[in-house]
């Protein structure tokens, strides 16, 4: 599908296509949903078991107090990043190729936060007392300890979830109006309530544009702060190879990296499931891929800097851990990670590759695997060889942890697809704009007309005056 024809799509057709996606997707949709639901059920069972028996069933121990739950948490938070961040940045930079893809990217953000937010809960030893982490005035006059990075997490995540949810919703209102005008039955009711009586009046459009840009301005620094705060969970501790100054930027880069990969994955999936060939074009994929490649390079740079700085600092403890990482019991993880996240992305340097949907699909999965392992190797090896040689030991995540991990993927995908089924996953009005502007840009004459009209206006105003 070539982009230049994209200016010829009729607005009516845009509505029709997108609205269709809400009604009849391919069969694959239902299959995927089913599988995910199953995974989620297994996860629930596993959690119930763990809640009953105690955390020991997850096979963590001393010194491995943290493991998959935390690395999954970091992974999902990371995943959530690129969505909103890219959407916001591209909006501010007026890159119009964002328009067909930003909607699902933001949805991805929202749902991966929701997924991430589950893990701290699962991770707690006494879930039933979790509310003690909240600052509320109480009889005991006891407050949570704001010095703990875990509390910063709480704050950051709440803010991030709220803001990106709102960003998503606001951006969706005009489309909801469109749906409202075409839907029947329960959907009609739903859209009517959600669209808040949007009629596309001039004042609405103006307020809308301002708000949207303002939110975008907030979201960029927010997204950055969120992941650097997650990084500080590690950087603020004194564990060798956690206590690293470059962690915040390193985490942010990693987040964007895995996020972009996720966008590509979902891009291809949606394109197939909801038949969006007309809108999700190779051109866009190509641009996204280039972006991903760039970020991959940034991440690699930071990764190598980290190694280098540890090596040259020549700190006994940190060096120990570094060596253990590369040649110790967790070596396999590290090497696979390095292959998936450092070597693999170079494939995107080739245009042929970038333009092949399914190749990109698999590559994005490989990258995500790499990034997931990266999170694991951030958490576990330093614990395995810590300050105290006596306690050194190796633990691999047990069945419970793995089940819950899979379940989280199921949970995310389920939520995401359900969203795409209920709400337009391609922004109709923005695509219309894109089409409109491109058409205008392509036809010189229209420009002239505009010029003429402007002159007339001036005349008339003079006349009025």
């Amino acid at each position: 599908m070539d982009t230049h024809t994209m200016k010829d799509i009729e607005w009516a057709k845009i509505n029709k296509d997108v609205l269709n996606s809400l009604e009849k997707p391919r069969k694959t949709f239902w299959v995927v949903i089913g599988v995910c639901a199953l995974l989620v059920l297994c996860g629930a069972a596993a959690e119930a078991y763990q809640y009953q028996e105690g955390l020991g069933v997850a096979l963590m121990n001393r010194p491995h107090f943290w493991q998959l739950y935390i690395s999954n948490f970091v992974f999902w938070i990371g995943m959530s990043h690129s969505g909103t961040l890219l959407s916001a940045i591209l909006l501010l930079t007026k890159a119009d190729w964002r328009k067909p893809i930003y909607r699902f990217a933001e949805a991805m953000t929202l749902f991966s936060i929701l997924t991430a937010a589950i893990f701290p809960v699962i991770h707690l030893g006494r879930v039933w007392d979790m509310y003690w982490v909240l600052p509320y005035p109480n009889q005991r006059t006891i407050w949570p300890n704001f010095r703990s990075p875990l509390l910063w997490d709480a704050a950051a995540i709440t803010t991030y979830a709220t803001s990106s949810a709102l960003f998503l919703y606001i951006g969706m209102i005009p489309d909801l109006a469109i749906c409202r005008d075409n839907a029947k039955g329960w959907r009609k009711k739903l859209y009517t309530t959600l669209s808040l009586g949007w009629m596309g009046r001039a004042r609405e459009w103006m307020a809308f544009r301002k708000t949207y840009v303002l939110l975008a301005c907030f979201l960029v620094p927010l997204a950055v702060s969120v992941h650097s705060i997650v990084a500080s969970d590690f950087a603020m501790s004194i564990m060798p190879d956690w206590h690293i100054t470059s962690f915040p930027p390193y985490f942010v880069a990693g987040a964007l990296y895995s996020g972009c990969a996720a966008i590509i994955t979902l891009f291809v999936m949606l394109r197939y499931i909801f038949k969006f060939e007309a809108y999700m074009t190779t051109e866009i994929l190509d641009k996204t891929a280039k972006l991903t490649f760039a970020i991959a390079m940034v991440w690699n740079y930071l990764n190598l800097t980290e190694y280098a700085s540890i090596w040259y600092s020549n700190d006994m403890f940190e060096k120990e851990v570094l060596l253990e990482k590369f040649f110790g019991p967790y070596a396999l993880v590290v090497w696979v990670m390095l292959f998936c996240a450092t070597v693999a992305p170079f494939a995107m340097a080739f245009e042929k590759f970038r333009h092949n949907m399914w190749a990109m699909f698999w590559l994005s999965l490989v990258i995500q695997l790499g990034m997931w392992l990266e999170r694991f190797q951030i958490v576990s090896p330093p614990l395995a060889s810590n300050h105290e040689p006596w306690t050194w030991n190796v633990v691999w995540p047990g069945a419970v942890q793995l089940t819950l991990t899979l379940a989280s993927f199921g949970w995310f995908t389920m939520l995401f697809l359900t969203f795409c089924k209920v709400f337009p996953s391609v922004s109709m009005y923005e695509v219309k704009e894109m089409v409109f502007h491109r058409r205008k840009a392509s036809s010189r004459s229209e420009m002239d007309d505009l010029q003429k009209i402007k002159e007339d206006m001036i005349k008339t105003e003079e006349g009025l005056a």
């Binding site: 879930v127 039933w128 007392d129 979790m130 509310y131 909240l134 509320y136 005035p137 109480n138 009889q139 005991r140 006059t141």
Partner: protein, 260 residues
């Protein structure tokens, strides 16, 4: 613990606004996981093996609390008097010898069986409370009347038959007292900080969480119905002798003094 239980125990709560606030936050945040432990052990309705008339002993005969609860001044626990103690007096009081309660008492004595009392004031197991320190400080150092001192926590016992739990005995309730005393002390540790004062309505309330059907002794003096204001407390603690003030420094300002 079923939700209905929770609900019922909540209903019986007469609480200040801020406590309601706290409560709402609880309900919203934790849903089913509401703490009920502190309220689950209200046993004022529990059938004791013998309906012991505190009012007779404490009010009519003015027997000092520590005559029966003899360990209170030297041990963590006040202790239920051994059966021998009851008999010690009652075998010399033929007049009531045939009252059913006394008969029952003697039957226990003859079979050398302990009386299976039900525990009325059951602190959570993670709470360390020592009677000794409180008795020593209030009765022997301040020289307050025994019944008043005991009344601070156990209510106006001379109006009871069997013992009742008339105080919440929650952490906030303990703190309420301790904070007020801290006011007098020179130590900056444990003194309520400015930021903390706006929570004092929660902390310093002496209102019991359990509904009770008889007048309440206030924190410091049984005659006055309402809680003392901080200012009043300050005045009072200024009146205290120096050695007592010195002693005040030792009111808990450290979780580990009560939770190990």
């Amino acid at each position: 613990m079923s939700m209905s239980n929770v609900a019922s125990s909540w209903k019986r709560v007469k609480a200040p606004w801020s406590f309601k606030l706290t409560r709402t936050i609880f309900l919203i945040t934790m849903g089913l996981l509401i703490p009920v432990g502190a309220w689950a052990d209200d046993v004022s309705d529990a059938p004791q093996p013998i309906e012991f008339p505190h009012n007779r002993h404490a009010s009519k005969f003015k027997i000092n609390c520590m005559y029966c609860h003899t360990y209170a001044r030297r041990s963590k626990v006040a202790g239920i008097p051994p059966v021998a103690k009851c008999i010690g007096c009652h075998e010399h009081i033929p007049s009531v010898r045939n009252k059913p309660r006394i008969k029952k008492l003697f039957s226990y004595w003859e079979q050398k069986k302990p009386i299976p009392w039900l525990k009325v004031h059951d602190m959570p197991d993670f709470v360390y409370f020592t009677h000794k320190r409180h008795i020593q400080r209030f009765i022997f150092k301040d020289g307050r009347p025994t019944q008043q001192v005991c009344g601070m926590c156990h209510g106006d016992v001379k109006t009871f038959t069997v013992g009742k739990k008339v105080r919440a005995m929650t952490m906030g309730w303990c703190l309420s007292c301790h904070k007020q005393f801290e006011e007098g002390s020179g130590s900056d540790i444990g003194k309520p900080a400015p930021a903390e004062r706006w929570m004092i309505p929660v902390a310093a309330t002496d209102k019991p969480l359990m509904k009770v059907d008889h007048p309440q002794p206030a924190v410091l003096n049984p005659e006055r119905p309402e809680t003392m204001k901080l200012s009043q407390i300050k005045k009072l603690s200024e009146r205290l002798p120096a050695k007592v003030k010195e002693h005040l420094v030792h009111a808990p300002h450290d979780c580990w003094q009560c939770h190990i």
